[in-house]
């Protein structure tokens, strides 16, 4: 490829923007210059784009916010294996329209990502598509069966960014302890879906009064908290790095908060439904609000918000779980768990800003630099020389979520009909504009 020519014509300047970089607490009027795939320059001096070379393409942001592209650290891709529910392409399109420029995919595909060839397959396919970058998680145990460890060292060498058994918990304390210890060899991060299966199996929603009235078997909050408590101890004992996915209960927050105070190497995330919805959303047997972990009571929801505010919760991840109609239009007990979330991650997260729980920078930090730092990804911030992964949004602009209008192949959103603000307007990946509203 003629790189010199490419370079000369591949420069773009985004002017007239409200530049936001949560990593450096930057919130100013300015612009960004991209050169090829990289950020070449940014700052207030680029606000008008005056005095720049003629061959630079100028994009007027019309005072919208221009921020680093979002990093979503928990996404279920259904490819390979269940392409009728979602593909790398459908997830890529959906993610770019949600402002997400990097996402980390769970290993619960078919075949399972416990083998180097699957890691390489997913990464190669996603690269070819040129949409949102996909970083695969590797499996902690072979076949996600919770018994024998997967080849974490070699999987990491072939590109797995961290390790998890996906939507399954590593339920054996012995296996989890060994895995945390083994992962420490290579300084790998383990991500746990904290839910004790012997307490959760057979349950469909949060255990409590509502489940009682609805006649559904509940999943108690202790199913989550006892595993959080256990794994915190194991992480402390082994010195391994541990991250809890989609934390949903007040008690878990308390345990993690105290663990962090003691200096245990533990982090966690939650997903938008757990701070924006409570168990009442499943009233009337709405299967689209059947999530794993289940939506909890209002006190838990309030505690999640507190955890986000005080930094106990480091990250907000979409927990994107596409399910087709056939898996959701069923009696509640038979319906699949999960909801799509790529396109709604930004506006629901911004509710924390609009409701004055967080500043705009604080809210964005949970979906940009913090997940990037936990996973060691070279993105999520405005920095010269980094990949030009950007997204543009207007925090005030209204959007009524219409599940049928989502670009995701599966439409199972728990937020259908919700009034939000701050939809993504434009997404840039490696200097290419891949989405424009």
């Amino acid at each position: 490829m003629n790189s010199k020519f490419e370079k000369a014509t591949n420069r773009k300047v985004y002017i007239n923007a409200r530049l936001i970089d949560p990593a450096s607490n930057l919130d100013i009027q300015g612009g960004v210059l991209t050169d090829g795939e990289l950020i070449a320059d940014f700052g207030p001096h680029l606000v008008s784009g005056d005095g720049l070379a003629q061959d630079i393409q100028v994009i007027d942001c019309e005072e919208a916010c221009l921020a680093p592209g979002l990093i979503d650290m928990r996404v279920q891709l259904r490819e390979p294996g269940e392409e009728h529910k979602g593909t790398l392409k459908s997830a890529g399109v959906s993610a770019t329209s949600g402002g997400i420029t990097s996402m980390v995919s769970l290993p619960n595909t078919t075949p399972v990502t416990d083998d180097m060839s699957v890691v390489e397959f997913v990464a190669r396919r996603a690269r070819k598509l040129g949409l949102t970058k996909v970083y695969p998680y590797g499996a902690i145990t072979q076949g996600l069966k919770g018994k024998e460890m997967a080849e974490m060292g070699m999987l990491a060498e072939s590109g797995a960014v961290a390790f998890t058994d996906g939507i399954r918990a590593v339920s054996s304390a012995k296996v989890m302890r060994k895995a945390l210890s083994y992962a420490r060899n290579y300084n790998l991060l383990l991500v746990q879906h904290a839910e004790e299966p012997s307490l959760a199996d057979g349950g469909h929603m949060n255990a409590g009064e509502l489940a009682l009235r609805m006649g559904l078997t509940g999943i108690p909050t202790v199913a989550e908290t006892i595993m959080v408590a256990r794994d915190v101890r194991l992480a402390e004992d082994t010195g391994g790095r541990l991250h809890f996915a989609h934390i949903s209960t007040a008690e878990s927050i308390g345990i993690i908060r105290r663990a962090k105070e003691r200096g245990v190497k533990v982090t966690c995330d939650t997903a938008p439904p757990y701070f924006s919805l409570n168990e009442l959303a499943v009233g009337d047997y709405r299967t689209f609000a059947k999530l794993s972990p289940p939506l909890r009571g209002e006190e838990d929801r309030q505690a999640i918000i507190e955890g986000i505010k005080d930094g106990t919760i480091d990250v907000i991840a979409s927990d994107h779980a596409p399910e087709d109609e056939d898996s959701k239009r069923l009696p509640f007990a038979q319906a699949a768990f999960g909801g799509v979330g790529l396109e709604t991650l930004l506006p629901i997260t911004l509710e924390l800003y609009h409701n004055k729980h967080l500043s705009l920078l604080e809210a964005l930090r949970k979906i940009t630099c913090q997940p990037a730092d936990i996973l060691g990804l070279p993105s999520g911030r405005l920095e010269k020389g980094l990949a030009a992964d950007l997204m543009m949004f207007n925090p005030e602009r209204g959007w009524k979520i219409d599940a049928d209008q989502l670009t995701s192949k599966s439409k199972n959103s728990p937020f259908d009909g919700r009034l939000t603000q701050g939809r993504c307007l434009r997404t840039v990946i490696d200097g290419r504009i891949v989405f424009e509203l």
């Binding site: 145990t141 072979q142 018994k147 024998e148 460890m149 997967a150 080849e151 974490m152 060292g153 070699m154 060994k178 210890s181 083994y182 420490r184 060899n185 082994t238 010195g239």
Partner: protein, 323 residues
């Protein structure tokens, strides 16, 4: 050369472990073994110091190399040797260890060589036996004669042990060889490094007086001796390690990883080797650097010295008792 003329500096009736031995006791055994090694190599006759004595080899765990080595050593010194195969004995039928001891006592052995799968079992036997007891490996506790033959090999190749840096690599957690070697090498003034994945090398192993590494290239940097350990098959299938190939990739000794060690670094392995698991065949068979064959050779010499010293002490003890 008759080694009996030397002043006996080893002071114990049994040899149950290296831990607790003084450096001069270790040196005493090594010096005697050195003499035997020379005689063995020349196929020269050795003084029949154990003539008329009975040595019983009692192996509760399968072993070819160690039991043969002990048998050879005892026979070289003129002893009558009884090999007891536990697989076909009444011990298999449920006899307790203590009862076995009384049975064996009735045969009036002079030395009992024991290997047992449980840590501490040899010590328990030694408390009940009216003879000298030599530990040929107990559980994951100690394997003193292996450490002595390793030390003899190192001393012959490197001149001395003091000041050397020795890396012990592999399944240290489950290794009696590693424990005995750590004790011996640090007692003799070597710097000991332990190299293994975290699951096979808990960080508290540092309390044994060694430096802990989890990366081969860091652990092997500038070492004089690389001691590989055997990895049991059952540890490779996901419980301690994900797989054989992942283990070899990160911890198997090949020329690439060895390149950071000293140019004349000695390669050792207690055997039997898993080629392609903990050690690459090219390295294992390296004529210049691998001492693996020599270790087997030194095994006989080291065990002759051990038999000699414990027999001498046992006889002195008997004389004191007026038996």
């Amino acid at each position: 050369m008759s080694t009996r003329d030397r002043e006996l500096r080893f002071t114990h009736r049994h040899l149950l472990g290296i831990e607790g031995l003084y450096p001069f006791e270790i040196t005493d055994i090594l010096d005697r073994a050195e003499g035997y090694a020379a005689l063995n190599r020349e196929r020269a006759p050795v003084p029949a110091l154990l003539e008329g004595r009975t040595v019983i080899n009692l192996f509760f765990e399968n072993s070819t190399r160690t039991s043969t080595s002990f048998e050879r050593a005892a026979k070289r010194l003129g002893a009558d040797v009884i090999n007891m195969n536990v697989q076909t004995s009444s011990i298999k039928k449920g006899e307790t260890l203590i009862d076995t001891a009384s049975t064996l006592n009735a045969m009036h052995p002079d030395v009992l060589v024991v290997r047992h799968g449980d840590s501490g079992a040899v010590k328990l036997l030694s408390q009940k036996m009216n003879c000298a007891v030599l530990n040929a490996g107990d559980g994951t506790h100690e394997h003193p004669t292996q450490a002595l033959l390793d030390a003899l090999t190192i001393r012959r190749r490197k001149g001395n042990i003091t000041g050397l840096t020795v890396a012990i690599c592999g399944d240290i957690l489950h290794s009696r060889v590693a424990r005995s070697n750590i004790h011996l090498l640090s007692a003799m003034g070597a710097r000991v490094r332990l190299v293994a994945p975290t699951t096979l090398l808990p960080s508290n192993m540092a309390v044994l007086g060694a430096e802990v590494f989890h990366d081969m290239r860091e652990g092997l940097k500038d070492v004089d001796v690389v001691m590989m350990l055997r990895l049991q098959k059952e540890r490779m299938e996901g419980t301690y390690l994900p797989s054989q190939r992942e283990y070899f990739h990160f911890y198997g000794l090949d020329y690439d990883k060895l390149s950071v060690a000293k140019e004349d670094a000695l390669i050792m392995h207690p055997g039997p080797m898993n080629r392609g698991v903990e050690i690459d065949s090219d390295v294992a068979d390296d004529f210049e650097r691998s001492a693996i064959q020599e270790q087997v050779e030194m095994g006989v010499a080291a065990r002759m010295a051990c038999l000699e010293v414990v027999t001498a002490n046992f006889e002195a003890w008997r004389a004191e008792q007026g038996q």
